[in-house]
């Protein structure tokens, strides 16, 4: 992951005449009509011919409020009917507490070249629909009329956004290629934004100039810096399976307000340093204030703690209590949506409500608790050069007991104490402490996804395998199983389903331990019977020992890879079988014993078969030590899996002795 940073330095500016500008609406050139997808990507169904956007901070004279004025204009060529979906336009608008983004001056035109003539069809204004998706998002939707192979569609609009902290992000790269993408940001000199360019694509041009007196606030004329960025021939961003957030790789330019000069000449810092952020979060009504609300738990505490006496058991008791008493409402965020008190009363809240309540409760029990803000995997990586608060979209708790610390997320009640859900395992989080300066925290999973199978069985003369299978699951493996047990309503129904899913194997008896004690290994005991052969009378019989979790498909079956491979968590699976054979059976051939490893301790596979007295012992182990593998490692992963698959296709050959 590369993160480039562009400093906005005044010395970098040149005062020059206008350099780039919007292109004329619906004025189609011969080259637009001639354009073929082969020019950039012969697999493209549609392509952006030209795209222009400009954003500026403006002052609304009637309300006296500043806002961001954003203009957008694009021309897209649709090559074939597979590209028609790019003629269905959805513009998401944000809803803030008491204001919302507003769209104006929308126009859209389809231009077709028919019998040597340009035919333009305008979008009917009555066919623009507004849909309130949920409490945070409004959608403006329309579809382009009269699409055919080779249509050119063009649309433009102006967006009025009341929220100046996030200056409009500009995405140079999308799911279709772009010939030319251009963005002009007009930023008044009194505002200072941190600017970051992400992704692998290079800017074709960039320019900065001073625009005199672009804004007038309370009689003061303010200069602006006009920043122009252009990218050309930008390839489409094609998503791959097992990919971390596409946003990590998309070429785009991001802005975050860092400080601004007030009219009295003083400087107001917004997100300049972590010190400022610490102060702001700690005093924010929806963050720090909630963390401090020990009062909410004062009276409840004896009941919550019960008999817990040491700090660790107190922390566990509180973690269980919050997990059981506030249900996740489906929204994530670092801030408390309502406040923790009402979340506790209503038994419902967002991640902010739940985990800030957890921190407050831990503090109320005199434990050392801190908040960790982070960005989920789907949301991408955070900027670690300077604070970009909008990068963070999730909060968890950190509790320090003795010399140990535990990361806690109470939104998933089936997670064991100290294990974060997978979507939180993403680079670094920032620990926000009410009293001390904030610091980075490596977000590592405290446990692997780990499963162990032990089969002790006997192969009987009638061709049946009878015995006991014990499974031990820990970490994410235990989490997944507990989720399945909950979904099945009861252990009995879970086992019934399991049995039904495996025709040929019957579960005669079962017991499952630690379904509810989340901190312990989930242990499943099954007495099983499996029909392997019709009988063992044949001279030779073939037995495949890889019947537990056999890998039948290679998850990495492609020949090339652009982005890193996200395997979720590090994982380990061990299988041991001890199978007693009838006296008259011996082994004459078996799968080759295997021992192989990925470079750099990335993973390991072992398999071995041996005879011990009258039983054969089979051991298998598959281990992945990294959650994420680089794209260069893709082919070794593919080969690694391929060799496992080859080995698992081979059998043990039994021979009947007289």
């Amino acid at each position: 992951m590369k993160l480039l940073s562009i400093a906005l330095l005044l010395s970098f500016f040149s005062v020059s005449s206008s350099y780039a500008q919007d292109f004329e609406y619906a004025r189609i050139t011969g080259s637009d009509i001639e354009l073929k997808n082969s020019q950039l990507d012969s697999n493209a169904n549609a392509m952006v011919i030209r795209e222009f956007g400009t954003a500026a901070v403006q002052l609304d004279n009637t309300t006296g409020k500043t806002y961001i004025d954003f203009e957008y204009h694009v021309r897209i060529k649709i090559f074939n009917k597979e590209g028609f979906n790019h003629g269905n336009i959805v513009i998401p608008l944000r809803i803030y507490r008491d204001e919302e983004d507003e769209i104006k001056e929308l126009k859209a035109t389809t231009i077709n070249f028919v019998n040597g003539q340009l035919v333009k069809t305008e979008l009917d204004k009555k066919k623009v629909f507004n849909e309130k998706k949920n409490k945070y998002v409004l959608l403006t939707k329309f579809t382009m009329p009269n699409l055919m192979d080779g249509s050119i569609i063009e649309y433009s609009y102006r967006l009025h956004s009341p929220y100046i902290f996030n200056f409009k992000t500009w995405e140079f790269q999308s799911d279709i290629p772009k010939l030319h993408s251009e963005y002009i940001a007009n930023i008044p000199a009194i505002y200072n934004y941190n600017v970051s360019l992400r992704g692998a694509q290079k800017l074709a041009k960039q320019n900065a100039e001073i625009k005199k007196e672009c804004l007038m606030i309370a009689g003061n004329k303010i200069d602006c810096s006009k920043m122009t960025y252009i990218m050309k021939d930008v390839p489409a961003l094609i998503e791959e399976d097992y990919m971390t957030a596409p946003g990590n790789f998309r070429s785009a330019i991001y802005y975050e307000l860092s400080d601004y000069v007030m009219l009295n000449g003083g400087k107001k810092s917004i997100t300049k340093t972590w010190k400022d952020v610490d102060y702001e979060l700690n005093s924010d009504k929806s963050f720090g204030t909630q963390m401090k609300r020990k009062d909410v738990f004062k009276e409840l505490m004896p009941q919550i703690l019960g008999k817990a006496s040491d700090d660790l058991s107190k922390a566990k008791a509180i973690y269980n209590y919050i997990g059981k008493n506030i249900k996740m409402n489906g929204f994530i965020g670092i801030y408390s949506e309502n406040n923790i008190k009402s979340a506790l009363e209503k038994h419902s809240g967002n991640t902010g409500d739940i985990n800030l309540a957890l921190i407050a409760a831990l503090s109320a029990a005199d434990l050392d608790a801190e908040a960790v803000i982070l960005s989920t995997r789907a949301n991408g990586v955070v900027n670690n050069l300077y604070p970009v608060i909008s990068d963070f979209n999730y909060v968890v708790a950190k509790v320090n007991i003795g010399d140990k610390s535990y990361l806690l997320d109470a939104t998933e009640p089936l997670l064991p104490f100290g294990l974060l859900p997978l979507h939180c395992i993403n680079g670094n989080g920032r620990v926000i402490n009410l009293k001390k300066p904030s610091y980075w925290q490596d977000l590592k999973a405290s446990q692997k996804e780990s499963t162990k199978y032990i089969l002790n069985a006997e192969l009987t003369a009638d061709g049946k395998l009878k015995g006991k299978l014990t499974t031990y699951s820990l970490g994410y493996a235990a989490l997944k199983k507990r989720q399945r047990i909950v979904a099945a309503n009861s252990v009995d129904e879970y086992v019934e389903k399991l049995d039904e899913q495996m025709p040929g194997i019957s579960i005669l008896k079962h017991s499952i331990e630690n379904v509810d004690s989340l901190d312990n290994t989930l242990v499943e005991d099954y007495e099983i019977e499996m029909k392997v052969f019709d009988n063992l009378n044949a001279d030779q019989s073939y037995f495949n020992p890889f019947f537990i979790n056999r890998i039948t498909k290679n998850p990495f079956n492609l020949n090339e890879r652009t982005y890193p491979v996200d395997m979720g968590a590090a994982s380990e699976e061990r299988i041991t079988m001890i199978i007693k054979l009838p006296a008259n059976i011996s082994i004459i051939d078996k799968p080759k014993d295997m021992s192989m490893a990925l470079t750099d301790n990335g993973g390991k596979y072992l398999a071995s078969t041996s005879m011990q007295d009258d039983s054969f012992v089979f051991n298998e182990m598959l281990q992945f030590n990294k959650p994420i593998y680089e794209s260069e490692e893709y082919l070794s992963l593919k080969e690694f899996y391929s060799r496992i698959i080859q080995s698992q296709k081979t059998d043990i050959v039994f021979k009947k002795t007289k």
């Binding site: 038994h347 030779q540 059998d651």
Partner: protein
Amino acid sequence: MLKRLLLLIFIAVTFKGYAQEQPDYNVENIPSALKSRANAVIRYMETTIDMRAPENVILNVKKTVTVLNKNGDQAAALVLFYNKATSIKGVKGIIMDSFGKPSGKFSLSNFLDESAVSDFSLFEDARIKRYSPNVLTYPYTISYEYEIRFKQNLIIPDWYATPYSDVSVENTSYTFISKPDDKIRIKEYNYKGNAEVVKSDKVVSRTWKVTNLNAIKREPYAPDPDNYLTYVKIAPEQFTYYGHKGSYSNWQELGKWVYDDLVKTRQTLSPDIIQEMNNLVKGLDSDKEKAKKIYEYVQKKTRYISVQIGIGGFQPFEAAEVHRVSYGDCKALVNYTQSLLKAVGINSLYCVVYGDSYKKSMDAEFASMDQGNHIILCVPLKSDTTWLECTSQDSPFGYLGSFTDDRVVLACTEEGGKLIKTPALTTAASLLKRKAELNLDKDGNINGKLHTDFSGSQYDNYRRIISKPSSEQLKLLKEEYDIDNIDFSNLKLAQRKDSNPVTSESLDLTIQKYAPRTNDRIYMVLNAFNKTNSIPEVRNRTLPVYVNRGFTDEDEIIYNLPEGYSIEAKPNDREIKSPFGSYAVKVTMEGKKLIYNRKFILNNGTYPADKYESFMRFFSDVSSSDNSKVIFKTN
């Protein structure tokens, strides 16, 4: 302050009053049979529909549900649809603990308001109000009532004794109230007994009651739940809908109204378009050729976009408007195509169908407006009848895929409605025929050629792949043939779009290390490309076995073996014949050629519940044979 205090007293009083009226909802009182397999139990439910006037229909629901565990939460959630013609009133409810003691209450202000636009739609005017109780200890009981007012009576909601298979019912009833001179038609499905009818001068009420209904376990290969659930459909003769009025008592009249009121008036075309169509078909002799020309014109010109507003849910856009913007939903595109055909003198039928890969027919005995979800076009021609799917830009002329084949649809015509059946894609016609010739080398690598033809319902198997650019096709093909180390080249996908359309693929392939070796032996699965999975066992099967769609697969693979290979073991030739279908596998050696032949036929049909065991056995026999290996030795 005083105001607030008063409010509190008021709440306390009503709370108490409400609680006192309630019967005892202690969880202990639920009969144990109702708890088996159930995630929730409807303790008491009273559904009343009062049709005061065609434009004033009141639905009133009183419901008490006990949620036994987390998976039952959905049965306690309230999701109410509303739009311009449907308004929600008087929602109130209380939540009780397992002893039936009230612990909280809610009203409409606690609901979330959301858009109900489905993902594939550009716009629909439906919205929903949603409420999910946040109760953390199970079991709990929720009791609520609400009222919904419909400004139409064309569609009276169906009443189901239980909407979900995992919810059992202690007590539920449905009362339909109408005026004595209102003519209504009623059909009861799987209801034992007769409705209780009470008549007075002013109203007639009919009541259906169901008690002690157990939860049903979900089972694979089960028939449409409508085959066994208890439900009642009601259709008034005189109706009002978004300003439209009409009456019907059978399919003939309903079809007539749809045609006259909703369709006929939307077909005006300008003389230019009529001229354009006549020019288009000039020189073509038969109506079939003309219809084909026009269908292809529509396919090239238009695309499918869904917009559902008001009566627009049933009425197509104007044909002229579709011509102008070149898009529309199913109704609009069928209406447009029909208008264009009319312009060249070809008669066609606007047909309402229930589109789903799961076949579902119009009920011949009971006409109502809510039985379809899609529109297709039927063109009755002299020698044969042709069916057109107008929302597809690439369907062959005359081909209905598995979404609409083999079911009864309503044709809406000038003479009235007619029920007709769409053609069936039969088991025999739904054919996959594959042939491959592969060379195995001494390192276990494979290379060779493969050709497959797909027809009948299998014509669409490659729908997802065929329209994609070539690099993407190769990627997707790896999902079809998900074999470790497989690679393709010279891929050719083609479609023959005649009256019996065929999709065909031909390609060269390599599979590195397909046949691994141990010290002495080489292992190879013969059936490389078409393996059937086993299906779950079901203990105590209760529902009939239903196979919605039959098909026939024929695979032949010829392996050219390297020098010196001999077979130590090979899969037995197998032939299984059963009512569910048949399976035959044959492995023959001809010199160095090892020939694998497989034919698998799965019939569609319905079988009694006790046949599930042998149905499952059939699949597991097929699956184990499909996965069996040949074992070679080398000398």
